[in-house]
């Protein structure tokens, strides 16, 4: 069983943190991961920066631009993650757009994930059908999860298809938006969370986009296995850098139950 499956088997109210590789400093990637594990994050998504991030709002866009300016590449990311295991035990997912991965070569990419101990991958613009046709066997063989997204607009039949073909979890986009939209969880969103929860899917779900604080995290946890915080954490890094104390405070402030 890989580390992602293990986590979902053992824990509820999972807090996943997204941050961009090579940001704010080029060499921050692994140290931030260490800090996050110590601070009590359950799962981490490391963003691979891309010049044209279609699904991201200004916060993550800018962190990606900074990382690219710093000299971040996929090659370098795998070098930085060479010592990831066994010293850290937190499950790690790489998230990024298809073009850099395509350029790197999917086979090579999956092999590097396996070698460094990366557990899963999210590539939002890799079509579901193309994944199944060309890459599924590769991922399965390497024991790497490929995580799919669903949105409020995804038809029910497609959700079932995605559920059947998921391993790890389903990434539930909380509303029709790009990342970093900071609003309270609306009635409409709650209805969507309930609707999906009532579908009795086999795969656990994490809710992402617009989760920024304890209130939104708790709300998400009412209807899913947990949630993903991205832009709010990038904002913290932007202001404080890799500051273990501040990062720990941030994680605790979100996880703290009433």
């Amino acid at each position: 069983m890989n580390r992602i499956a293990q986590l979902f088997k053992e824990k509820k109210n999972i807090l996943s943190i997204y941050y961009t590789a090579g940001f704010p400093q080029l060499t921050d990637t692994l140290p931030i991961l260490e800090t996050l594990e110590k601070a009590g994050a359950d799962l981490v998504e490391i963003g691979m920066p891309f010049s044209d991030p279609l699904a991201d709002g200004p916060t993550i866009q800018q962190s990606g631009q900074t990382a690219l300016k710093n000299g971040m590449t996929i090659n370098l990311l795998f070098e930085q993650l060479a010592d990831l295991r066994p010293q850290l035990s937190i499950p790690v997912i790489l998230m990024g757009y298809f073009n850099p991965v395509h350029k790197f070569g999917m086979e090579r990419f999956v092999e590097q994930c396996r070698k460094t101990g990366v557990d899963g991958v999210i590539i939002p613009d890799l079509p579901f059908d193309e994944y199944r046709e060309k890459y599924e066997a590769l991922f399965t063989q390497a024991g790497i999860s490929n995580i799919f997204l669903i949105t409020p607009q995804t038809p029910e039949e497609r959700i079932k298809l995605i559920d059947k073909n998921s391993n790890g979890f389903i990434y539930m986009v909380s509303s029709a938006s790009v990342t970093g939209t900071k609003k309270e969880i609306s009635e409409q969103q709650t209805r969507y969370f309930k609707r999906i929860n009532n579908m009795q899917l086999a795969s656990p779900r994490l809710i992402g986009f617009g989760i920024s604080d304890r209130a939104s995290f708790q709300k998400a946890c009412d209807y899913a296995a947990g949630a993903i915080v991205g832009s709010a954490f990038i904002n913290l890094l932007n202001n404080e850098g890799n500051n273990p104390e501040k990062i720990s405070d941030f994680i605790q402030s979100i996880k703290k139950t009433n």
Partner: protein
């Protein structure tokens, strides 16, 4: 059964190994919906009647196929100019926007978004929206807003909201990113009216079909003027490649016709300041489509450069990528300077001031050789009014 078409899109949305729909899940329902409906809408009698009426009475089609005697004498062949510059709003872009606006209306969409580079597609979209009474939002790179200021004013006068794209080099690529983000955030009431043969399937096919009127007319006009329904060569400029797609469309499967696409080399293909995607790019994914694009070793998309805002794009439509791969198309690149010289030449030989984009197609004449009896069609995709400031500065008028 008609003969299988080698250079058209297949039923999976691919042109050979290019095309497809590489989009995040947020856009999937919209793209599926469009995919399911577009052929039915475009081929319906209702659409065809309305579209053809608009092209005739509103756009002013057919556009003339003008025999350019003085240019023909100079290059010792028969040169015809397909005058898309004479269309309403001054370029070929309106052929596509009046068609897509009818599709949007048929699908019950109330809000139209678009990206624009030179501003020609933005103006054509704002025009179609004004005509149909639909809300219009145009994304335009901040750099382009400065160098194409008259078109910004036109869009605003037409009632469109123009939103500056401030990421990257602040040009067409960045405007397209912003338009896609808007569509992600407004999936239900909004129609994304793409201006070129780029983006996820079915957009390249939609735009190609709507621009196909250019080559449909060329066929008829060649028949009338020369007694045969095809020229020997068609030349058009390519950024994303919509006027080229339209100029080639009805000749794609007719191998008697040489198809020449002209890219913007900027300061030169090896200068690092270029938009010549076929010359400098390799396979990748940009704006939802697998095609040639300019990128670095890490798969980061390279910022393009051309004096012509309409060609300043690091990708190219998947149809053209396939024309390159199969050898069906000939791809040339032309520098800023060569394009400027060609614009001046046409202006002073024929009294026609072309757009900087179209000037790239004209500059190809110096790079090709023709027989005296051959018939060559060059598409003048737009008029030069919007580029007068560049021409003025460059030539010192």
């Amino acid at each position: 059964m008609t003969k299988k078409k080698k250079y058209q899109v297949d039923d999976k949305g691919m042109y050979g190994r290019f095309g497809g729909a590489y989009i995040p899940e947020m856009l999937y329902p919209n793209i599926e919906n469009l995919k399911a409906k577009y052929i039915g809408i475009i081929e319906s009698d209702k659409f065809q009647t309305e579209y053809k009426n608009l092209l005739k009475d509103y756009v002013g089609r057919p556009s003339p196929l003008y025999f350019s005697k003085r240019l023909s004498d100079k290059y010792n062949t028969n040169i015809f100019l397909k005058r898309e510059d004479l269309n309403h709003t001054g370029a070929h872009k309106i052929n596509n926007t009046v068609g897509q606006i009818l599709i949007a209306r048929e699908m019950g969409k109330e809000r139209i978004i678009a990206e624009t580079g030179a501003g020609q597609h933005g103006v054509a979209t704002a025009t179609a929206c004004a005509l149909m009474g639909l809300k219009c939002v145009v994304y335009m790179g901040e750099t382009d807003m400065e160098r194409q200021a008259p078109n910004v004013a036109r869009m605003k006068m037409l009632g469109a909201e123009v939103i500056p794209a401030r990421s990257g080099n602040k040009t067409l690529k960045d405007a397209t990113n912003e338009a896609l983000r808007d569509w992600i955030c407004n999936p239900e009431d909004t129609f994304y009216l793409i201006g070129s043969v780029v983006g996820p399937h079915p957009y390249p096919d939609i735009v190609a079909r709507l621009q196909a009127v250019i080559s449909e007319e060329i066929k008829q006009q060649m028949q009338e003027k020369r007694g045969k329904d095809h020229p020997d060569c068609v030349i058009a400029c390519v950024g994303g490649g919509s006027n080229a797609a339209g100029s080639f469309y009805h000749f794609l499967e007719d191998e008697r016709v040489k198809l020449v696409a002209v890219e913007a080399a900027g300061l030169g293909t090896d200068s690092g300041e270029t938009a010549a995607t076929i010359a400098m790019g390799d396979e990748g994914i940009i704006h939802g489509s697998k095609t040639y694009l300019m990128q670095d070793d890490d798969g980061q998309i390279t910022e393009p450069y051309s004096i012509s805002a309409g060609l300043d794009y690091p990708g190219i439509g998947p149809m053209h990528a396939n024309l390159k791969d199969t050898g069906r198309g000939t791809f040339l690149s032309v520098t800023d300077q060569e394009a400027l010289d060609a614009a001046l030449e046409l202006t002073q030989l024929e009294g026609i001031i072309p757009a900087l984009e179209s000037a790239h197609a004209l500059a190809a004449l110096k790079k090709l050789t023709f027989k005296p009896e051959e018939n060559v069609v060059i598409t003048i995709s737009g008029r030069g009014d919007k580029d007068m400031e560049t021409y003025r500065q460059h030539f010192g008028f």
